[in-house]
Amino acid sequence: MKKSQLISTLTYTAIASAQLSFAETTITIGTVNNGDMIRMQGLSAEFENRHPDIKLEWVVLEENVLRQKLTNDIATKGGQFDVMTIGMYEAPMWGKKGWLNELSDLPEAYDLIDIFPAIRDGLSNDGKLYGLPFYGESSVTYYRTDQFDQAGLEMPEQPTWTQVKEFAMKLHNPEKEQYGICLRGKAGWGENMALITTMSNAFGARWFNPEWKPEFDGGAWRETLSFYVDLLGKYGPPGASGNGFNENLALFNTGKCAMWVDASVAGSFVTDPTQSKVHENVGFALAPMEVTSNGAGWLWTWALAIPSSSDAVSAARTFVTWATSKEYVALVASTSGIKNVPPGTRASTYDEKYLTEAPFAEITLQAMGNADPINSTKNPKPYVGVQFVGIPEFQAIGTQVGKLFSGALAGTSNVDNALKAAQEYTSRQMNRAGYF
């Protein structure tokens, strides 16, 4: 009897140990509601099948809400997330503060070298990588090939802003609700300021000189903002100061814009017959340059990072390496079609098949190759980032300056007053933060 009890006890212990060794780890992933991210969510069953000991829980939120929530969680070590979707702006700063786990010693099959160097560098601080890129984007020029043909115009591979204005003037026909150009006007560091900053780079301006003094009182900024207000005011759609990415996408897809300069990720939307009425008549060119091509197109990536407050680092690491791997790219290609693979992160994605099937792929590849977050202005600058300044103060400064510039576009202010106020505000904030 005692012997049989002992056997039973040992058997139960063995079963319990086995169950413990297969205990399920749940990881919570915070992400944004973009098409590529939703596709990743849809493929989570594939991951769970391969890793039965890991369960994925998704928290999908709007970008600004997610950013606020993640910042709160990571700064207070709330530990609500095991994987966070963050951008190129946050990754190096949060890594430097010790809020993120370093992603070193990745498996050889991951092929880190395959990831575009600019993207890799943008997610690193002091040579340490803090996020693995899920998809990347630059900015490009979309234009209506049918309207260009009718007007006898030809879009160069990389137009200048002056040429873009000439085209916009010729194609602007507000009576028919056809506008020469659509650009971002909605205030925000990631909205109008992303576009205006790349435009200012092209016009030879920069946010700060090497002593961190703002340069809105310079001639290049004056030229940039005057040009932007004039171009969009004269040849843009009505109410342009309220238009962001989505509003302009809706205008372009309904055939109301002859040209649109915005994120390369829109390439798959404007060529999608279920979304776009003009999908057969879209051409692609690089983002416009002017006195320089440095920083004419932006660089951004959404990356997956693991906060240091996570208690499931190993499982989280398994997930982020899978979701950003070549294997995942192949999985998307086989399940959703090659046009829908996450763009702009890996050189191997841009093989012949992809370049043939995705009409926007080549220009995206070229734009990603041109973008350099370190040398993105005509003159030297002290910050990293093409369309943003990689310092913690930039979110507040960028949004405030965005409001001032949006006001100039809407007509509630003018170019001179907006630049003067931007200079004063930025100087005050940078001085308070101890930069000079």
């Binding site: 915070g30 944004v32 509601n33 849809g42 207070t76 989505n246 990720v265």
Partner: protein, 280 residues
């Protein structure tokens, strides 16, 4: 006769003007909901087409997609538990507080009432970090218990005020008569005040339910996967890069539907409670 006819004409025209105005205001208020409903049955390309299409081939694809992508009933259950739980707890506390303030008034009662209401004047984001830290330290992050406690505290000032106003209208003689018959506080509340003020209390319950159901700021900041209510589900369909207006409308319709239906069923009590007061 002429005079009478003229009066009749004026009365009829006044009736029609009033009716037309009421319909106009009602339609104006209902328009966003109607538009959301219409958009939810459109394809994405129709959803953002200009001029907007009123006549279109309806599709259920957005609802099917929402069903495939999200566990709607998990979010809905969280909404139900959190809003009913906080309303129940809030009513329990509000009735007791209002009873004491209405029938045993001291010189500080009015000031206390005003102070309670003043907490509603504080912008919620101002206390986000302290509340977040408290939730973290007490293990309440992403829990329904945490939201029930928070929503109860959030709606308490309004609930106390409303119940206090209804109780104040009850003649004290009724309570005195009950006391003579040997009723004590709990019996006074259960057998005298609750039946007399049921219309007002129903209105308070409904208002608290609606406020808790629609609350988004705290639910978005304090929950992630387990306790997230329907407001968090709606937020998950808002996209910075991509036009998903039809899907967003479908999920919004699904989120609004339960409370709309509930409000529709109980609108008689709500209107009576809000307009007639406690004692008819």
């Amino acid at each position: 006769m002429n005079q009478e006819y003229r009066y009749h004409l004026i009365r009829v025209s006044q009736f029609w003007i009033r009716t037309a105005m009421s319909w106009f205001v009602a339609l104006l208020i209902f328009f966003p909901i109607a538009w959301m409903l219409l958009t939810s049955f459109k394809s994405e390309i129709e959803a953002f087409s200009t001029p907007p299409s009123i006549f279109f081939k309806p599709t259920l694809e957005n609802y099917i997609l929402v069903d495939e992508r999200s566990d709607y009933f998990k979010f809905a259950l969280n909404s139900v538990i959190v809003s009913f739980g906080s309303t129940l707890l809030g009513m329990l506390l509000a009735v007791l507080a209002a009873y004491s303030m209405a029938f045993f008034e001291t010189k500080r009662t009015q000031a206390t009432l005003l102070w309670m209401l003043s907490t509603k004047m504080l912008p919620p984001v101002g206390v986000l970090v302290p509340i977040y830290l408290l939730f973290r330290d007490f293990g309440l992050l992403d829990t329904r218990t945490g939201l029930v406690i928070l929503y109860t505290l959030m709606n308490m000032p309004i609930m106390v005020w409303m119940v206090y106003t209804y109780f104040k209208e009850v003649p004290t003689e009724i309570l005195e008569a009950a006391r003579l018959d040997g009723a004590y506080a709990v019996k006074e509340i259960i057998y005298i005040l609750l039946p007399i003020c049921k219309g007002g209390l129903a209105a308070t319950v409904l208002l608290s339910l609606i406020l808790s159901w629609n609350e988004a700021f705290w639910s978005l900041n304090l929950t992630t996967a387990k306790a997230a209510p329907l407001t968090a589900l709606i937020a998950s369909y808002s996209s910075p890069e991509g036009l998903f207006w039809a899907k967003l409308s479908a999920v919004s319709t699904l989120a609004c539907a339960p409370i709309l239906v509930f409000g529709w069923i109980s609108q008689k009590q709500l209107v009576r409670g809000l307009s007639f007061g406690a004692v008819k």
